[in-house]
Symmetry: C2
Subunit: 413 residues, 2 copies
């Protein structure tokens, strides 16, 4: 799937190897050497707030790595950022994006452990969706030779979060069971693959019916995302499950806690219902926040249950736990090298196609991860393209009807 | 400490070996073969509700083991039971007690895996504080030859709960830190010993100052239980701790959560403040319940925190998880055999001394576990014994003043 991106990436890599050094970077960019293309969010709102513009290219500060970006991950969280539906949103205009892969192009002072030309993946605290990114070295990781750039961009956020939730927050062991929503998405597939590394783990997953055929090998029991998953799980396992991973929030917190076996762990790691879910209006953020049932610790005591929250970005950028994450990345790369996990890339999109890509993830049309391929040229608009008028998160009416269109969304490979 | 009890136990064991078989059990009891001594709680309330009486001796049903009891564990929970301060209290009169050790005296039908004469420890759903106990075989575990009966009675509840909290609910690993209240009690000492089996774990503990000298080797940083432990921990570790084990409840839940590092786990496993704590009246149960701050899962998400409740008795007797507990007991016995853990027995008490024993635990006078030694004769009352008039949990006035007496409490070894 990601073949085109890789070949391009390798060409560029050779160029760097030939030219070497920080001073030659100008040969890599067409036009003004101090500018770069980037996706810019002009203000919080719908898709029309996004555009690709030229921006001043950043230079690495002390301890930072400058990366020539090849591919960027697109996450559900990016839709929430676009809408401003996050805690303490930063000021706009901003360049979105929290993860990318590419080639080290320059190093700030006192930046040990990397060399120019290294193939890397990285976390960035915004600013990932650009041709060049600078980020502190603690957030940069070398990638295996046979990992493509789109794979690497699909790897960091989803696999690190899935691993830490399953093995550090919860304690996944042989014979346990896990419920994951959006099992066909990038995170769902990371969870399913990591579960398969432990013997005899049962994975319950929800996904739109059209994805079931594609993901049925990775998920033990698949349910339509529109059915009552509590009843479906209980039909198969009346006792419930050991681990619930919830990216929906709202009333799903109570449902998830109710599904736990004794000693089971519920983990809230997102709130995608705030963007697209069953609620119909833009007021869903405030609604979801208050709809979450607060938990009485004495009830947890009576029932022997665990409730947790997990935010990888807060862990990295607010709570300074990059050293823990580094250990996890090393373990994950070992699993990748042992061919036990492999990121599933849904589709590659040019930066200029970011709106279509966002629409696709909003409509839950993806199977695996959506990737922005920085070197890809945009596909010409199709006759029925309605991106400029259909803006996820701004409509007052139900967006569910749009899902009929998802098979017609551009699917570029 | 437990020497006297052990010697007696061994004598009895030899008798069983000589006489063998179920039919000879009558030689083991003095007087009426179908009666036994037991502690009976006539109604919920103060110490005056407890007495030792003769009761009909139970016989094992199918799947049950009949145990000639040598020693019983006394836990803080037993004080809460006495007061009726538990969820869905059973009907009185009842025989309290949830754990004991002794010798298998008879087996119900279909009770495989044990033989008459086996030295065992067991969980019982009430009825432990008696000369004879019958309990399903799933709650009975053989003990090592060199584990004394008082040690065994001090082992099951505290070490199993501590192990499951540290290693299954939380995920204690090298270099982490743990806060435990009542570090000098049976549970606190079990936690401290299990922490010492993992390299480089820092244990913060609260305990009354007079215990500090005795327990200072097992706890890295000891605080007076009356100081503000939040401030004391933060002075030493501004970032907080990885695991908080809270047996106090009430406002300590918020304090504990506040002390957690990112990815840290708070576990509520008791609510001893309901019995003795800072609150002054019998209304403290209801108060504590409502004083517990309910937790918003979205806050856990923002802060990357985990909150859990743990009740071993619910796990065993309501939630049917004895097979999980069996695995833990096996691991703990390996640790015991490897001399890595050893229950700390505070003192041995005759059944007739149960009131004094309860007063001692109520006043937090104990260092390690209080044990009822079934074969021990009561020590004559001391001149200043005030048990009949000082009844823990019934007073309207503050009980803290009584702690001055704790050095004078009978301390029988």
């Amino acid at each position: 799937m990601a073949k085109e991106g890789v070949e391009k990436a390798e060409e560029t890599e050779h160029m760097i190897e030939k030219d070497g050094g920080k001073d030659q970077e100008s040969v890599l960019t067409a036009g003004d050497t101090k500018e770069m293309r980037a996706v810019v969010l002009a203000g919080f709102g719908g898709l029309n707030k996004l555009r690709v513009t030229k921006k001043l290219m950043p230079e690495p500060l002390e301890g930072e790595v400058k990366i020539r970006v090849k591919a960027c991950g697109l996450n559900f969280l990016d839709l929430m950022v676009r809408q401003g539906n996050i805690d303490n949103p930063p000021k706009t205009p901003l360049v979105p994006g929290f993860e990318c892969s590419g080639i080290v192009e320059a190093l700030g002072e006192n930046t040990k452990g990397f060399e120019i030309g290294d193939r890397v993946m990285a976390f960035v605290n915004y600013n990932a969706w650009a041709e060049v990114v600078c980020t502190p070295l603690e957030f940069v990781y070398k990638i295996p030779d046979d990992m493509t750039f789109p794979e690497a961009a699909a790897f960091s956020m989803n696999f690190v979060a899935a691993y830490m939730m399953l093995f550090e927050v919860a304690n996944l062991r042989e014979g346990m069971s896990v419920l994951v929503h959006s099992a066909g998405g990038g995170m769902g597939q990371a969870v399913a693959q990591l579960c398969s590394t432990v013997p005899n783990v049962t994975v319950f997953g929800t996904a739109s019916p059209f994805k079931h055929e594609a993901i049925k090998d990775s998920v033990t029991h698949l349910f339509d995302r529109n059915v009552d998953y509590v009843q479906e799980v209980k039909k198969i396992s009346p006792e419930g499950v050991d681990i619930v991973l919830d990216c929906l929030c709202g009333e799903n917190t109570g449902k998830g806690l109710g599904l736990l076996k004794p000693l089971g762990t519920y983990i809230l790691y997102g709130s995608s219902n705030m963007v697209t879910g069953e609620t119909k209006s833009f007021f869903s953020l405030a609604k979801s926040w208050w709809q979450v049932e607060k938990v009485n610790p004495i009830k947890l005591y009576d029932e022997n249950k665990v409730i947790a929250g997990f935010s990888l970005l807060n862990l990295l950028f607010k709570q300074g736990r990059s050293s823990l994450v580094k250990i996890v990345v090393d373990k994950l790369i070992s699993l990748y090298n042992a061919r036990k996990i492999k990121p599933l890339v849904d589709s590659l999109w040019a930066l200029e196609e970011v709106k279509e890509a966002m629409q696709r993830i909003h409509d839950r049309g993806n199977i695996g991860k959506l990737i922005l391929d920085v070197e890809k040229s945009p596909t010409p608009l199709m006759a029925n393209d309605s991106t400029e008028t259909s803006e996820a998160g701004e409509e007052e009416e139900d967006h569910e009807g749009d899902t009929d269109n998802k098979e017609r969304m551009p699917f570029i490979q």
